[in-house]
């Protein structure tokens, strides 16, 4: 489902020059995960899908958070492109934001809940 259908234009365009890093391959994810475990920074994994309206609705707010919280790493994963990773993190409802530190999950927000996510990031980034 969703393959062969491009996402609405507005969604694709905001990937250019975005502080949110879009990961498109398993190799890229593995490399990124390795470097995350070596750092002390909080990482926010944003699980999205091109067919999910709520993901599109919160995208601008995530971009704004990524600009605001310069000491936090924001990463975006498409659940169709990297379905194994999505399954590994037990993602079924989206958008799902998994907060990780030192290789472990320290928080999770499921749904386009802007205020709740912002608060959790502010609390956990230190």
């Amino acid at each position: 489902m969703g393959h062969g259908l491009s996402a609405p234009a507005a969604f694709a365009a905001e990937e250019v020059d975005s502080p949110v890093l879009a990961i498109h391959s398993k190799n890229a994810w593995n490399d990124h995960w390795k470097s995350h475990k070596d750092s002390s920074k909080l990482m926010v994994i944003d699980f999205t899908a091109s067919w999910c309206g709520p993901c599109r609705s919160i995208a601008p707010a995530i971009k704004a958070m990524a600009v605001k919280y310069t000491d936090v790493v924001f990463v975006k994963i498409d659940v169709d492109e990297l379905s194994e990773v999505a399954q590994q993190w037990k993602v079924q409802t989206m958008p799902a934001f998994v907060l990780v530190k030192g290789g472990s999950e320290v928080g999770r927000v499921v749904g386009a809940k802007k205020d709740e996510l912002d608060k959790k990031i502010a609390q956990l980034r230190a």
Binding site: W51, G53, P54, K113
Partner: protein, 336 residues
Amino acid sequence: MAVSGFEGFEKRLELHFSGDNPLGLRYLSIDDLQQVLDAVQCSIVSAAGNRSFDAYVLSESSLFLYPHKIILKTCGTTQLLRSIPSLLHHAADLGLRLRSCRYSRGRFIFPAAQPFPHTSFPDEVRFLDARLPATLRFRKASVMPSATSAHSWHVYSAADDEFSVLPPSGSTIEVCMTELDRSLARRFHRRKGDDRSGDEAGAEMTELTEIGGINPRALVCGFAFDPCGYSMNGLDRDRYSTIHVTPEDGHSYASFECVGGGEMMELDCLRKAVHVFRPGAVSVCTAAAAGGDEGGVWSAVANALEPLGLSCRNQAAEDFPGAGTVTYQTFTARRK
């Protein structure tokens, strides 16, 4: 009883489409969606989606978007029917064809406060008749009565085929509760000085009131309004559920709606949902494919609610084009 207060009773609109685009309505941009909601005078408060559908909690109720089906349920003084022209326009742009429309509601607690076209059921029917395409040539409007004049169920449906050619989407069950138990209703008021987000406070309400236990498999997005009120959408595979609470004394109201799969699991959910609120009066409506056994539905619903001290006061059933068979029952609590 207040002269006027927040109207809990929702107006509900369900539209079915067909088309080649597998994403269908889910392809709608957020701007287009917000434009539809602007016509209704409500906005998106929280949202989540899975492989089957998108669920939005709105400032005044809920929106569910499947590829070929949209359900919009709004309360207060929203002008729900004004969403229709904009929705049909966007659907046509996506290459979708409207197949059926069902509009339903209970009886308003404060009918004089409603704006046009919700000023009366005949006004609503005329508005719908004028705005739906002529291809939907089978139409019916009916008010299903109950034992008291305080409660009735209004249904309008229009379809392009008398016998629905759409795949059976399961049955839906809609519950409207009034005269909520006061101490239970108080749980839906925010505490003074609580500066948490509506999502966080909503999550706590979901847990404290055991709403989360109604369907443990569902992902629940709960939202607590300030100073009071609560809404939630539940997502469980391709089935939505939704609850909306107006807890104010004098005109308290709560609604519960979910999709059934035919295994009658939804009756268990019905019982648990009603138990959360211990209401003085309940109405239960179901909609299922025509040709079903409405007697069986009446008994099953009554059996689910009688152990909670609720007695069935009336039962009715009617067929509607494109909507199947609609059943309507009202219950009142057997007070000590």
